[in-house]
């Protein structure tokens, strides 16, 4: 196995791939539901500077995930423009990788072969096999390279999905509630790992979540959305140093503000 200390930058991101700049301008989107248009995004404009960690926060089903699909290039927007580093987004690209809420690992492939998917799809696997090992090492799964997905716990499966994304040296990592289905302890552990990965690799990160605390713990900026059709209602810079603590007084105060924006400020149990 490769030594962790020698591999971190040299293998995964040499030459260093810094984060991409994202520009979303005036994007609206609707789906056709039983013949009638169902608006999901309403005139959303958003930018992310290279290396920024932006959390998109809003109620479930508000349309945040749709915005991610547009950024990933899986669908074109009904209206508006999306661009990365000034170039319009016309389709999926391995420099913009999505980690979905479900790990969506291929059950017929081992963890290693799942992580190798991007390289294989682009015909790079033969020459760059070491990148797969490095990515698995990075998420702590190198001992499970030959395991099949059904043998993994939820957290391990999501780590494998993360490794599958990181192998491609993304310049923009798109996270669609990747921790949403994990138990709370695994979730806390993986929040820390996400921040460390982001700090180390320098990619721009877009995280969709409906967990206020998670957004404030991880992101440099939190964008709050309204219920469907999603509009941006607030942008809150989180100017706190990492590592952050969930009982930090400033974070608790921000949390109360954001909850008020979402309409549950006075909720008590």
């Amino acid at each position: 196995m490769v030594n962790a200390a020698t591999l971190d930058r040299s293998l995964l991101s040499a030459p260093l791939a810094p984060g991409a700049a994202l520009d979303v301008r005036g994007v609206s989107h609707h789906y056709q539901l039983k013949g009638a248009p169902l608006p999901v995004l309403d005139n959303v404009s958003l930018t992310a500077a290279p290396g920024e960690f932006v959390a998109l926060l809003g109620p479930s089903g508000c349309g945040k995930s749709t915005l991610l699909r547009l950024v990933a290039g899986l669908e074109p927007p009904t209206q508006g423009e999306l661009s990365v580093d000034g170039a319009p987004i016309t389709g999926p690209d391995p420099s913009r990788v999505v980690v979905f809420q479900d790990p969506t690992l291929y059950p017929w492939r081992t963890v290693w072969r799942n992580a190798a998917l991007g390289l294989e799809a682009r015909g790079l696997l033969r020459s760059q096999r070491s990148r797969v090992d490095a990515a698995l090492e990075l998420v702590g799964l190198n001992g499970f390279a030959d395991a099949y997905p059904h043998q993994l716990s939820g957290g391990m499966a999501q780590r494998a999905a993360l490794a599958r994304a990181l192998v491609n040296e993304p310049r923009l990592l798109i996270l669609d509630e990747p921790l949403g289905k994990l138990d709370s302890l695994t979730r806390i552990a993986m929040q820390g790992e996400l921040v460390r990965l982001w700090q180390r690799e320098g990619f721009t990160t877009l995280l969709v979540t409906h967990d206020v605390e998670e957004a404030l713990l991880l992101a440099t900026r939190v964008v709050v959305f309204s219920p469907r059709p999603a509009r941006i209602t607030a942008e809150i810079p989180v100017d706190l140093a990492y590592p952050r603590h969930r009982d930090d007084a400033r974070l608790v105060k921000l949390r109360r503000e954001v909850l008020a924006l979402l309409g549950v400020g006075d909720a008590t149990v």
Partner: protein, 334 residues
Amino acid sequence: MSHSLPFAREAPLAFRGPALWWSGLLAASAWALAAFVTHHFPDQSEIVEWTQTGHIAVAQGAIAVTFLVLAVTAPLIPPLWRRIQGLGPWFVALGLFFATWQAVTAKFSLLPMPFFVPPQQLVEVYLDDWARLGESVLASLWLLARGYVLGSAVGFAVGIGLGWSPRFGYWAHPVMRLVGPLPATAWLPLAFFLFPSSASASTFLIALATGFPVAVLTWSGVASVNPDFYDVARTLGAKPRFLVLKVAIPAALPHVFVGLFMGLGASFAVLVVAEMLGVRSGLGWYLSWAQGWAAYGNMYAALLVMALMCSGLITLLFQARDRLLSWQKGVVKW
């Protein structure tokens, strides 16, 4: 076929069995009874003289002795014990079956005689006619292989096309809906007329019978692939070719194997009918030939061989599946 009884496997802690294998002892008695019936009562045959009766009695006696020895020794040998401990009731039942079979046919003629044959006649058929039976098995296997491979390949391709390409589906779907459900045997009279040889006609019919279930299940397999699997591959830079070969097909394989299994069953049916009606070789032909001569012993002999052949082929298919789909949980053991 592997006899993997779940209980036998889950008792690894019992390193040693009991002092005596009681059902083994019972099996020894049952087989001794069979040997006794075979040896003691005279054959009641007016037409033919069976020559193998004595040999069968000896063989059954030898089996009885073997069980007697096993009843004492098997519990002492853990690997052997794990294999046979669950099978005792079957060994007993088989011994009783042979005793009864012998009694109701050759010994007391309780079943009408030419139609029901005793074991000794079956043995005689295998001894006298093994060459012709063997040839028939090979002929059947060869015909089946041609039709089945052709049908599976075309069915698979059609299924992928239906699941993947709307344009292909536009033309292929209505045709398949009309032609597919028609039993392949309905084509029989026409096929023997249209094709240059009965062999090519039968190959076509077997391929048709195999192709339909394979096509439908491959199609449904491709259609039921989790759409997120495609999204994942697309964001990682996959092209359509990769999506078909590396995502759609592997994801559809469990369905495809159900189709291959159903197609194999259908191909057996068509094989036998085709051989009975047109092809002048194979086990189906052997059966109708035996019927022509009222050689009932030969018919039973051929039926048994056919059952072993079909079961063996299905076992092979399941083994191939277990190999290819080892990543699946909870697959049925054949």
